[in-house]
Symmetry: C2
DNA sequence: GAACATCTTCGGCATTTTTTGAAAAAGTTT
DNA sequence: AAACTTTTTCAAAAAATGCCGAAGATGTTC
């Protein structure tokens, strides 16, 4: 989530008609003075001013990267007040990871990477555009209906990976009652598998995969995708 | 939507551990050769290669901006095949505009800008972080449950502005049955106002505003926010 | 309005970028 | 394996960035 904000800031600056003004906009949004920012960056305040006034027409990306990170960092040191405004609601630790793929990848490839098995009678003939890894127990405890938005990154054409699964029933029930349906559900190392979970998968026509891969390996493998 | 993709590309490149590899990732995602990209940019292919190999540690943002725009442009000239993959689902014209504010703004300010009236008994003591303008008739015809995600940009702390409104009943019913609730609903120039709409607003405790401002003016005013 | 902090402007210099073109390397097709 | 396209490497020269520090302008607070 935070990563996305940083990317948004950087992207906006780069593509802006007036990069300097955009830098300023963000600095002011975070209520950081030039002096403060300069100190964090280890440069003199006049340098910041020069950037904001576009004395350099095309600052290097390292400079932009440092500026963005410094602004965020200053806010963090202060307690992250502005940051919190962007991380909708509470920064729940129920969501372990959210990722988007640059382009759709075939679900079958995704399955193979996970070393997973399709336990539902649903076809894997489709592409997904990202995945979300959710701690199923924490999710039930901490996520309210609105927070589900977070589970879906950009599109619903994504896989939902549930970890810490008992029987796989509650994750599927949650999906059943919610209007936003993922393209695929992955249960990570369930103790047992509730037939009802499979039934729901069938009803909703959402492929249900099961993997027993170690969680860290799984995350690593996915990151390589 | 397209703007966001460009921003994402630029932001990713700037903040990447390896900007060169990220440039390459995007070039390849769009299936553009170095030569082709070089031609579009008006530089020699070796230049592109040098960037991808980070011969320059911190290229200027103008360079990045040109690269991102060129890649997208090439795809566009070809028919926008890759671009389409990013505009999740159909580029519905039901959504007229989506915007995020850098920071929350008081709902009362928002109301004043619209020259709107609060027809519900709900308090305006809250901030919103963005708004979505939706053509209510087209929305009913073309948006399915999953597409509602699009209506909500980043957060649900936003105003939903419905245009082309008859009585304001169906927009409110849609909100009633959906788990994601906006912070405020604005009806644009309804012919009449159904009491049920107000009742739902009250039940859900969502302020219901009505404005008669001309749509173009309204969009313009909002853009100035 | 004096004292203060914040911001703006700019000369100047070391360091980098930007870019080319040519030649070599790597990958594809036939 | 020849013919082809695409990618890699690199020296060199002009241009631009990155940065400082001092002096002036602008705003704020007491």
């Amino acid at each position: 989530m935070l990563e996305k904000l940083a990317e948004k800031m950087a992207g906006e600056i780069v593509l802006s008609e007036s990069p300097g003004r955009t830098i300023r906009k963000w600095r002011e949004t975070f209520k950081v003075s030039q002096k403060e920012l300069a100190k964090e960056l280890g440069v003199s305040p006049s340098t910041i001013c020069d950037y904001e006034h576009e004395r350099r027409e095309s600052p290097g990306i390292k400079t932009i990267s440092r500026i963005v990170n410094s602004i965020i960092n200053i806010d963090r040191k202060r307690g992250g007040d502005v940051l919190k405004k962007y991380t909708i609601g509470v920064e729940s630790d129920a969501i372990i990871q959210i990722r988007e793929f640059p382009i759709g990848i075939p679900l079958t490839d995704f399955k193979d990477v996970l070393g997973a098995k399709n336990v539902s009678p649903c076809s894997l003939q489709r592409d997904i555009h990202g995945y979300t890894i959710v701690d199923s127990v924490k999710a039930i405890l901490s996520l309210n209906a609105t927070d589900y938005l977070k589970i879906y990154g950009w599109s619903t054409e994504r896989a939902l990976i549930f970890t810490d699964v008992r029987y796989g029933r509650s994750p599927m029930v949650a999906i059943r009652v919610h209007p936003l349906k993922p393209a695929c559900v992955v249960l990570h190392a369930p103790k047992e598998l509730d037939p009802l979970a499979i039934k729901i998968a069938e009803l909703e026509n959402i492929p249900l995969l099961v993997t027993k891969m170690n969680l860290n390996d799984l995350i690593k493998k996915l990151e390589e995708l």
